[in-house]
Symmetry: D2
Subunit: 370 residues, 4 copies
């Protein structure tokens, strides 16, 4: 099977997430990176293209030009990865979808609700597909967890707890911290911790629990002098189907690197998972001893096995889970799979979540319906 042709917008040298997307695209050999608008400055864009082995005639400084030019080529890209600050996701995605080029977009889908609605419409009108890289859903043990919930192993879901804790913004970031700079600008990010990682936690909770928020009460705080976005967000959530939950996203929780955890409690059992040890899933069945399920084990459901690359005990990590999102995108684009788990619907729900949190927090943590 020949690799699909991939372009990228954003992700020039020094960017963290661009490199991740490239490794993820490459791991399974399903994509070749052949075009890009890696930066808005022509010089940096072309230098990055050169370093990445992208030919100069397919290196662009303007994503609009890129979308048109690639669509016009007989060997034009099949899909584009968007790895820019959040406020550009919508416009860029729409530019490529308008050319029927598929989009693989980093999260959150957009920086505002208006952008989200517009993008949903654009995606429906396009022959291209839209994929949102909620990469944590690519972990095999998360697939296993989701299946166990579906299969009723937990009984009725009562409590959903998803915490995403980091500490890299405990103090004011230096001016040279590119990652921190745009995230701290509400116009570019659409929000602080809530947009950057709260969306991940919320999406993961919904993905595994098979549910969505009905209403929420949020407290968004900023613990650092001069910071204009939230760095700590505590959200009480009522889910469809009656479960209650808590989403906590913090970027000032000292000692936490990228500590995303999920716990789901039902009337008959519970599941617990932590992203920093992703190859393990804890299952407790009421009245029985706790079990440690491990990736690759023969005891797992085929949906977990399908996204597993290595035998048990050979740890898979973040890139592998991310690569699974890319592989599934390739499967959908190639007609091997019918649908993806993370598309515009989930993206819109995420933006709704962020917006509702901000609205609630501005109103003394009032309960807001989504």
């Amino acid at each position: 099977m020949a690799p699909l042709k991939l372009g990228m917008v954003g992700g020039g040298q020094g960017a963290f997430i661009g490199g991740v997307h490239r490794m993820a695209a490459r791991l399974d050999g399903r994509f070749d990176l052949v075009a890009g608008a890696f930066a808005s400055s022509p010089e940096r864009a072309h230098a990055s293209a050169d370093a990445l082995g992208v030919r100069s005639d397919r290196s662009y400084a303007d994503y609009r030009e890129m979308a048109v030019a690639e669509a016009a080529r007989s060997d034009g890209i099949d899909a584009v990865s968007i790895v820019t600050p959040n406020h550009l996701h919508g416009p860029i995605a729409e530019a490529f979808l308008a050319q029927d080029i598929s989009v693989i977009c980093d999260k959150p889908m957009t920086a505002t609700r208006e952008q989200a609605d517009s993008l949903v419409a654009a995606a429906k009108a396009s022959k291209g597909h839209f994929f949102l890289t909620h990469n944590y859903t690519g972990y095999p043990m998360i697939r296993q967890a989701r299946q166990m919930v579906r299969d009723g192993a937990l009984g009725d879901i009562r409590i959903v707890e998803a915490n995403y804790l980091q500490d890299w913004l405990t103090e004011a970031a230096g001016d040279d911290n590119k990652q921190a700079a745009w995230r701290s600008d509400p116009k570019q990010s659409g929000g602080g911790a809530i947009a950057d990682i709260g969306t991940h936690a919320y999406n993961l909770a919904c993905f595994v629990a098979g549910s969505r928020a009905l209403s929420l009460s949020a407290t968004l705080l900023s613990h650092v002098e001069g910071r204009t976005v939230d760095d700590d967000a505590q959200i009480a959530v009522q889910f469809e189907g009656g479960a209650r939950g808590r989403i906590w996203a913090s970027q000032v929780a000292v000692g936490n690197e990228n500590n995303l955890t999920l716990a789901i409690y039902g009337s008959k059992g519970a599941l617990r998972w932590a992203q920093e040890t992703p190859n393990v899933l804890w299952f407790s069945k009421l009245g029985d001893v706790s079990q440690m399920l491990t990736r690759g084990s023969g005891a797992l459901h085929p949906v977990a096995a399908d996204v597993t690359r290595l035998p048990p005990g050979h740890p898979e990590g973040y890139i592998e889970a991310f690569a699974t999102i890319y592989r599934e995108a390739a499967d959908v684009m190639s007609g091997i799979a019918l649908d993806t788990t993370i598309g515009v619907e989930q993206g819109l729900d995420g933006v709704r979540f962020v917006t509702a949190c901000q609205h609630s927090s501005r109103n003394a943590a009032a309960w807001i319906d989504l």
Copy 2:
């Protein structure tokens, strides 16, 4: 040093917490159990006394009679342990305090705010001391944590998270479950999970953070058909000094046995502790690697060493921490120490906390000042 003479009210055969108090009282040889009203039925009371080696002339069926009789003896008890259902704590304590006999009382202090106020007044009027066995404060690593907060190792406290998760009430308890029966009756318990374990979590958070709740927003739920008290309580808290926090107490969290955890995040560092592995305290200093502090290590503060009985690697557990509360009570009663950390003030604050949670929850999680 001759042991102090101890009586007990409640704690007859089959009761869990009575046995714990007796082991705790005995471990350091500071108390001798010499009297008791172990049950309200004379038969069961005397059978328990006999089994426990308490002489028949000091076995009582009525605590009021016991208080008067013991006060009249030249060899009467110095202190009484109260290990009854919650609604009896106040009246019993007052009966002994009225005789200037010291009281060592299980938590929560009382089942209602009225009882609490009355008891506070009684304690002030008595020559006896009042001790509340918030036993988790007796763990050496909790003492270490409290001291590190005091010493500024964490900087300004920003976030306090205390979760106390159990699963033994996931389903409706059988009629023969004595532990569950009175806890499920709001008149006897004063509340469900919030009174039984929420008070522990709140007290521990306050003890270590050196703070108290200013206001809170609580959601108390009951997940089991027919249950008349809460079995899951989520509380957002604003602390004195500006910290925000969350207390979560649940007795329906499958797979959790007695999983009390505490995390405190400050501007410079963080501490994390879990009751089920109590000999370890995690300390993360901003910008440095995380450290595993261990009980008994030479690196700890004297306040931790003072309540440590064994060298590092020789695990101490629940009884040892509980025994420390008893030892400190003995020290205060003997004039060796001036004051205890857990008395009527903390007891009153705990009752206020429970009452405020119930009030908030009945009012759609409205913020309530304490």
Copy 3:
């Protein structure tokens, strides 16, 4: 049930293990400490007796005098705890056994094979009982493990691995370190790490596996200049029944406090346990997911429940396990139980083990039959 009357030899102020024995004896209320020869100097002996609440007429400076005097009293001691340096265990035990007073002796049983043989004979001739405090066998999860092996849950035992790692002798101990001083003198200790902790590891392996060493090959090393006993011992073992194993005892393994671990692998399953987290036992059944068994859980065998004092999640520790040895001694002495698991047979096997290791190590790790 009235407490048994206990004496103690050794264990004066400042001694670690004496205090442990006293707490262990006291925890369940089965023994009262009423006599002692706490030190060989009369002054220190009587000062310790005073501090411990032992009446002066039952405080002795000479254990021989104590044995005779106590035997002559109508209220004389029922048992004596021996907590002296190793080379005195044998003579002291024999002095009390000769008076038909039961003995509860710290390990190793004796410092030499000759002492061991003599003590075995003395124990057989006495009406008193002899108990060896291999305290780690008192942990509930160790009882569970032993029962699972007996019940065939592991199939045929193939591999037994017991490691006991500490680091407190990584450097030469200061002259003021009383614990280190006698242990470092081969005449008093009978050996270094091999005698002090290797015997524990070996005993634990035998206790759980239900087997004994047939032959072994040992390398005993001393890593510190001037040290005259081993501080690191690696022993390959062939067990009765065909299992192979390794015992590793080290007191120079930096970062290990009291890290005794046991792993047993059979043809159908495996068990793993670590003393520093003693409330957990890992069970892996071939072809199935790994299970975390926890103390107090309803899934455990009655032999584990019988030595459990607290519900799940309320950690028990070192003292509780030690107290179980004392409780079982009381049960045997009171006729409630017929026999103990750790007596002179096991003590003799432990001394044989030490002697064989030393012999093997002196002969280039030659295989030695026990």
Copy 4:
């Protein structure tokens, strides 16, 4: 930088390690797979080539033909990956080295000492490079550990313990288990657990400790009826420089998936690492609290940072470590780096180790000099 052109011998469909090598080669975009002799049967070879996107004119059924043909092409491969059973490593490597094509070879280097000597000579005579994929050395925390040993953080190295435990051969493998089949045939594998995983453990110990075995005493066992190679190997090792150690490799240790652990104890500190949680390295400094070093942290040495692809808390795994070996091979082939850490010298040492273990075990665990 244009990717290097890579060929592969072995690794056809269904082979585990071939797929790993391909992902590892691809992850950083430094190699393109363009040729292969993926199987010895022409049909399977070409089917695999087709599935892998290798053009039919560069798909071979005979590695000798491949070596000659590729060397003759102007666009011939720069390197070949060898992922066949062990007994073919040597002949295949020599065929390509004879054409000055670089070799990236799976471990152990060869199945016999004779093959190893021959290959060493061939490597020296070739303009191609020889790389041995001891992939566990590619983990960032292993690089950190090695550097800390070099920098003296542990003082003098006293004890080295490397255990590699699996359980997939606990029972006789079915006839359809391709992985097990050739490993169980001593002619193809050169040994059982000792060759398959013992070499990894030994190499890792040497890599980090900066040392090699001087002599060893080994016991190789086979626990399964009818198995002709060892499935459990316990080896006592004396290292250059005076350290003592133990290597334990087992494929019958139930409950262990791929549990490779390393512990190194020195006079001043210790390091501990486990492959299944590879992003963490424990460091204990004598007299200080234990530290948890984490991959990606600013506290690490540049040698660790250089092989790190993701920020802290974003777990890297087995493929990433393997890819580092490929990247370093690319760096050496491209002249960016001068030398590799794992070449024929280490390969020869590994074969010597296996041979010595087998010799010792046949002679009752006699000590054998390497």
